[in-house]
């Protein structure tokens, strides 16, 4: 895990350093683990349980002219229950704060294996810089899954999750 992160750090650092300065995007890699509460309903009762532990990995891109906005394509892995894989593109909007930085986010998780599940995610987060390139991150999000093969018939699924992790900027 750490080795992969260091590899990505080195590779992406080399790639971005070769870009022209005027068009240099701010690139970061992030990894976080999270869980929370899953809620669903049957019409007669509301069911709750702890959400499976998830691992979120992503790469963020911020254009210098819109540095308050970050596009972060990534993946999400459910590590408990039936292990599953999802694409998770996220758009983050940063507030003009420095330490810690605060942002809101919207995302669209799309589980593709071994079942399908898709929904919309909104939330907010903070990042506390530890050093020149490293920051600790925390995010809270609400995800509404509205379709997919994993849902109960005629029902949806809502997840209220928190995640903590690390971000490395290049």
């Amino acid at each position: 895990m750490i080795g992969a992160l260091l590899s990505a750090t080195t590779l992406l650092g080399g790639l971005t350093s070769s870009m022209p300065p005027a068009e240099q995007w701010e690139v970061s890699a992030r990894a976080a683990a999270g869980s929370g509460v899953s809620v669903s309903g049957t019409g007669r009762e509301v069911l709750k349980r702890r959400s499976p532990l998830t691992l979120n990995l992503g790469v963020g891109f911020r254009h210098p002219q819109w540095s308050w906005l970050e596009l972060c394509p990534g993946i999400q892995l459910e590590m408990q229950g039936k292990a599953s894989f999802a694409f998770r593109p996220v758009l983050r909007a940063y507030l003009p704060t420095r330490r810690p930085t605060v942002h809101g986010l919207v995302g669209a998780p799309l589980y593709v294996f071994p079942f399908t599940l898709h929904g919309v995610e909104v939330g907010f987060g903070v990042a506390y810089p530890l050093a020149h390139h490293v920051a600790l991150t925390a995010e809270a999000s609400a995800t509404a899954f509205v379709g997919g093969s994993d849902l109960m018939t005629g029902s949806g699924l809502t997840k209220l999750d928190v995640a903590g992790g690390i971000r490395v900027s290049f």
């Binding site: 260091l6 080195t10 899953s38 007669r44 709750k48 599940l117 018939t153 490395v168």
Partner: protein
């Protein structure tokens, strides 16, 4: 409306509570907040019958010379029952009905065959050019996989900065 707390990540079988299909094991699906089997096979509901036995003769002889021809039981000793139908909303309760079937197991003779060995490779070595990308990345990968003391110090200095 009640609120139920579903036990996390247990092997949800039978009529266990669930929120998603992935909360249930096997082919079970989550319907109405309960795991149920589409094929109607609930857990521990596979039926097995031990009934069997041959037919008994009910014809008897008359008088002093009467004799019964009660037949010996030759029925299956154990039947495998197929589980009963279930619904997608309920849990499966299978009732087994035994129907024994005899199966023959035969062993085939080993086949015999002869093969001819392949021809030996001439062992010509590749003379192509090496991939430039691989050539460029190899020192990088080596540096990350097996960093020297200097490279390690450089990486940490870059990460943590002044």
């Amino acid at each position: 409306m009640s609120v139920a707390i579903v036990a996390p990540f247990t092997a949800a079988c039978g009529n266990a509570e669930c929120l998603r299909d992935s909360d249930c094991v096997g082919d079970s699906v989550c319907a109405g907040g309960r795991c149920s089997s589409l094929t109607g096979q609930g857990h521990a509901s596979s039926g097995s019958d031990t009934e069997g036995g041959g037919p008994e003769s009910t014809t008897g002889g008359d008088g002093i010379t009467s004799s019964n021809t009660q037949g010996p039981g030759t029925g299956p000793q154990s039947g495998t029952g197929s589980s009963g139908p279930g619904s997608t909303t309920g849990h499966g309760d299978g009732d087994g009905d035994g129907d024994g079937d005899g199966d023959g197991d035969g062993d085939g003779d080993d086949g015999t065959g002869t093969g001819t060995g392949g021809s030996a490779n001439t062992g010509a070595s590749d003379s192509g050019n090496s991939d430039a990308t691989v050539t460029m990345l190899t020192p990088l990968v080596d540096a990350v996989s097996h960093p020297t003391r200097t490279e390690n110090a450089g990486l940490w200095a870059w990460l943590w900065g002044p």
